[in-house]
């Protein structure tokens, strides 16, 4: 995992079959990066399905959610449509896992992303991170606590 306080490495990945998303285009927003192992987890309470229910809470903190896995953009498209996701899933597909590696969130043995979370502030600096055991859905409470704390610090500074 990359440490807190450094600039988040920039990247550009496919978010749909014909559109790319660049991290640095999201300056002035907080960004939640959720690396996850694979599309099509078989349970109802899948991590991404949970975040999909949480988007309005993230918006309140001026934060956007982005999922990243090594699945292809076509897999992501089908996954998004079947689960009605309202946030982008990026395809770290070619070269495989390049972005996950740059965030020290790649599992060389399985060839998939680890379950790693980063919260990046409006200036592109990593402000929170969390690595979850791969079989365990980390939930959203840690993310919300981090976003709240960031907003409190900002408020205090502006006073």
């Amino acid at each position: 995992m990359l440490p807190i306080g450094i600039i988040a490495p920039d990247f550009e990945l496919y978010s749909t079959p014909d559109q790319k998303l660049r991290l640095s285009d999201l300056r002035n927003k907080k960004v939640i990066l959720a690396f996850y192992p694979a599309d099509w987890s078989p349970v109802c309470g899948d991590q991404m399905a949970l975040y999909n229910e949480m988007l309005q809470y993230f918006y309140k903190h001026n934060a956007v959610m982005i999922g990243i896995s090594v699945d292809s953009k076509w897999s992501h498209l089908a996954f998004i449509q079947s689960h009605k996701f309202h946030f982008p899933l990026l395809s770290d597909f070619e070269p495989k896992g390049k972005v996950a590696r740059s965030y020290e969130a790649y599992d060389e043995e399985t060839g998939a992303c680890e379950r790693a979370l980063y919260v990046i502030d409006e200036r592109g600096i990593i402000r929170w991170n969390y690595l979850s055991p791969v079989g365990i859905n980390p939930g959203a409470d840690g993310i919300l606590d981090a976003l709240e704390e960031m907003d409190q610090v900002t408020t205090n500074l502006s006073i």
Binding site: C44, G139, A140
Partner: protein
């Protein structure tokens, strides 16, 4: 992870309010796993009797379960006529039929005042209560349904079969942590 906020008067509590064991479930009326957990909880209630109090909080995943929120609101509407648990039960027992017409049938089956029930279904305060349940689940580290808390602490193991009951017995849980 601990339950945030702890059980209070805003919750629906079934069983002995002074019970030494408190089981809280975060569930979704349209989630098939919660449907399978429903008889398991019933069996625990029979086995533990006065030692157990049970609380259900809503955690609807609305994108994959579009009927879950209205079903949850229906239980809150039934609660206004003192029939929360009757509605909770009949919904879980008919989980694959949760469209509004079915909810009205269930309301009739448990003898609710239908006019009042229909009006209460549209009450935004009830939807807000369901949303507040969801938010408390997020705060408490709920990441899937069903998720159980035993005496305020998140239970992280399997709940199938007798595993919850055996866990409670094996750990001789008898003191509330708060």
């Amino acid at each position: 992870m601990s339950l945030r906020p702890t059980v209070s008067e805003r919750d629906h509590i079934q069983g002995n309010k002074e019970a030494v064991i408190e089981l809280v479930e975060y569930g979704d009326y349209q989630c098939p796993h919660c449907g399978r957990a429903y008889p398991i909880v019933k069996r625990m209630q029979e086995e533990l009797g006065d030692q157990l109090r049970f609380v259900f909080r809503n955690f609807p995943l609305t994108n994959i379960h579009p009927e879950a929120t209205m079903a949850a609101v229906a239980t809150e509407a039934a609660a206004l006529q003192n029939k929360y648990w009757e509605m909770h039960d009949i919904i879980f027992e008919n989980q694959d039929q949760l469209a509004k017409d079915f909810l009205l049938d269930y309301a009739k089956a448990i003898d609710l005042n239908i006019k009042k029930f229909e009006k209460d279904l549209e009450d935004t305060a009830l939807t807000e209560k369901v949303r507040a349940d969801f938010e408390s689940g997020i705060r408490s580290g709920v990441n899937a349904t069903p998720t159980f808390f035993i005496n305020g602490e998140k239970y992280n193991n399997g709940w199938e079969g007798d595993r919850l009951l055996e866990y409670i017995k094996a750990n001789k849980i008898s003191v509330l942590h708060y």
